[in-house]
């Protein structure tokens, strides 16, 4: 009753929505880079709340299941197959003992999620199953690793996310929407001219980006007044810190809990998954919002996530969109073969 990892990228981790009240231990909240992807998975799998999933970073992986369950693929768009049958992102499907899911590529986005119904039986640490960088508190995902789950024989038809409005599953498609930024305790360390320049500059997402942070490039440089004498202070995901080279570096889920680089502001939490999934080299603009506006964005976002369950529909595709239609085993995993036989 387990998922066996046959292959996976070294930067893959297990992630749920993250830890709470962990900063006192010097541990950041962690959690999935694309948090809505976990909510999508929960709605597809009919789980009450998001659970820990395998976060595939940059590359896919190959996974074998030793007992029946439901699997959801969310986050980045992927090229993937269940045995020989293509499966798509933002969908859920049933697997049988011995089935192999192989994700050969992430086609849009940087983080893809593999979830099983009910989640994996992995110990919790500080209320979360997310891996902690530099600590072996949880399973280190690697080939040969086995993650236990409770079997689930219930096999409804394959389904996928229809989405609507802001919950539409389009956030892995690059957009030019600006990233919204709220002021923080160190915004006042920057001159108004520097702040104005920051919000009118066109940045490019750099090549260096991981769970700790993402670098940005522009031809301008940014620094705080008295930059080198700033006392280390609390940091959080979304913080835009100005490095010694004067370029912004946006802290992400596994950032350190304190840092000494000055921070001009914080990207609102509801935009962080979009930043995580954006390809390197893409344009980035920042726009200023108030903290009250950010709170309204968050509550609207949360309301949308709570309504996702109503937006799951059966998997129906137009035959013309399925070039290799005849190669499909169209009933695989859709209905239980033994039950049908018994009925006849």
């Amino acid at each position: 009753m387990a998922l066996e990892i046959l292959s996976i990228s070294p930067s893959a981790t297990l992630q749920d929505v993250g830890r709470r009240a962990s900063v006192a231990y010097g541990i950041s909240a962690g959690g999935a880079m694309d948090q809505p992807a976990l909510w999508h998975a929960a709605s597809l799998l009919r789980d009450a709340a998001p659970v820990a999933a395998i976060e595939c970073a940059g590359q896919g992986g190959t996974f074998r299941f030793t007992s029946p369950t439901r699997v959801a693929l969310t986050g980045a768009e992927v090229r993937a197959k269940l045995n020989d049958t293509p499966v798509r992102a933002q969908s859920a499907f049933s697997v049988q003992a011995g089935d192999t899911l192989s994700i050969s590529a992430l086609t849009h986005g940087n983080y893809a999620y593999v979830s099983v119904k009910g989640g994996f039986a992995v110990p919790h640490f500080l209320g979360s199953q997310s891996n902690v960088p530099t600590l072996d508190t949880g399973p280190k995902l690697a080939a040969g690793m086995v993650l236990e789950y409770s079997p689930c024989a219930f096999a409804p038809p394959n389904c996928f996310h229809t989405g609507s409005g802001t919950t539409k599953i389009t956030h892995c498609k690059p957009s030019h929407d600006p990233f919204r930024v709220i002021p923080g305790p160190q915004t006042g360390f920057f001159s108004q001219d520097t702040i104005n320049l920051f919000f009118t500059t066109l940045f490019e997402k750099g090549n260096r980006g991981d769970r700790m942070g993402i670098e940005m490039h522009s031809t301008d440089t940014f620094s705080a007044n008295n930059q080198s004498n700033i006392v280390s202070d609390f940091t959080q995901a979304g913080d835009i810190q100005m490095t010694g080279a004067g370029q912004p570096y946006v802290l992400m889920r596994d950032c350190q809990t304190t840092g000494g680089y000055p921070r001009i502001g914080t990207v609102v939490s509801v935009d962080l998954h979009r930043l995580a999934q954006l390809p390197a080299g893409h344009d980035i603009r920042f726009t200023s919002v108030t903290i009250d506006q950010a709170r309204q964005l968050e509550s609207a976002h949360h309301k949308n996530l709570m309504q996702l369950r109503g937006m799951v529909g059966p998997m129906v595709r137009h035959p013309k969109d399925i070039p290799n239609l005849l190669s499909y085993q169209l009933i695989s995993g859709v209905i239980s073969a033994t039950d049908a036989k018994d009925d006849e």
Partner: protein, 239 residues
């Protein structure tokens, strides 16, 4: 006396900051303020913790509105008895440390940077007490200080790719006991047998902000014994 300021920190947090410079007073005030807030705030405060010169308070938006949380915290700041922020009630630890050259690869550079002799450095480190200013960088890793002003030296320009868990490193008038094998830009000047963070223990961190540490020199063979014989949490003794 330092006048604390209140700042929004994200959409569900506030920061109370004591000035903009790291001083022993500002650090003690932050630690004590965090302790007082633990008693003062209701269940709405889901996280209260101090950094070098500030206190983070996270609130639960389903229990309290941001406006009410802000009002509660600014009333607390206005009514605060600044005298009560001047001393901490930390536990005391005595930590063995090996300063032998093989466990202190940067000691020579450190002495040169400070313009002090090796024995002056070791004498000072084993006679003064330092307090845990904050935990950070790695889980449970303590920043200790402040050392005498003569110990002010900037971080090194080159990064050491890895120092071992338990390493004692120093820069900017502070010491750190490394919680895990990690890179450092500070001077590696000794080795302790301390495990700062043990995920299976409750609580997992050995130290908390405000604890007071002293160091005593031990030999390389004593260090080995401490590391081999004692479980991480028995290496040092509280008083």
């Amino acid at each position: 006396m330092l006048h604390p300021t209140l700042h929004a920190f994200g959409t569900d947090g506030f920061l109370i900051r004591f000035g903009e410079d790291l001083t022993q007073d500002a650090n003690t005030a932050a630690i004590t303020c965090a302790e007082q807030l633990q008693d003062h705030c209701g269940t709405w405060a889901i996280e209260i913790t101090s950094a070098l010169i500030s206190v983070l308070v996270r609130f639960n938006p389903s229990e309290i509105s941001p406006q009410e949380a802000e009002r509660a915290l600014s009333q607390f700041i206005d009514a605060i008895d600044t005298k009560s922020l001047e001393t901490t009630q930390g536990r005391r630890f005595s930590i063995p440390c090996c300063f032998d050259p093989e466990h202190a690869p940067d000691m020579q550079d450190f002495c040169t940077a400070l313009n002090m002799s090796r024995s002056q450095v070791i004498d000072t480190l084993t006679s003064c007490s330092v307090s845990v200013l904050t935990l950070g960088f790695a889980p449970g890793q303590p920043y200790l200080g402040l050392l005498p002003e003569a110990f002010f030296t900037p971080r090194r320009s080159a990064i050491t790719p890895q120092v071992p868990k338990g390493a004692l490193v120093s820069a900017v008038q502070q010491l750190i006991i490394y919680a895990a094998n990690n890179p450092t830009g500070w001077y590696h000047i000794g080795q302790t047998p301390v495990t700062c963070f043990e995920p299976k223990a409750t609580p997992p961190n050995m130290f908390r902000a405000g604890d007071v540490l002293t160091f005593h020199a031990c030999s390389a063979s004593e260090l080995k014994q401490y590391e081999a014989q004692l479980s991480p949490f028995e290496v040092v003794h509280g008083a």
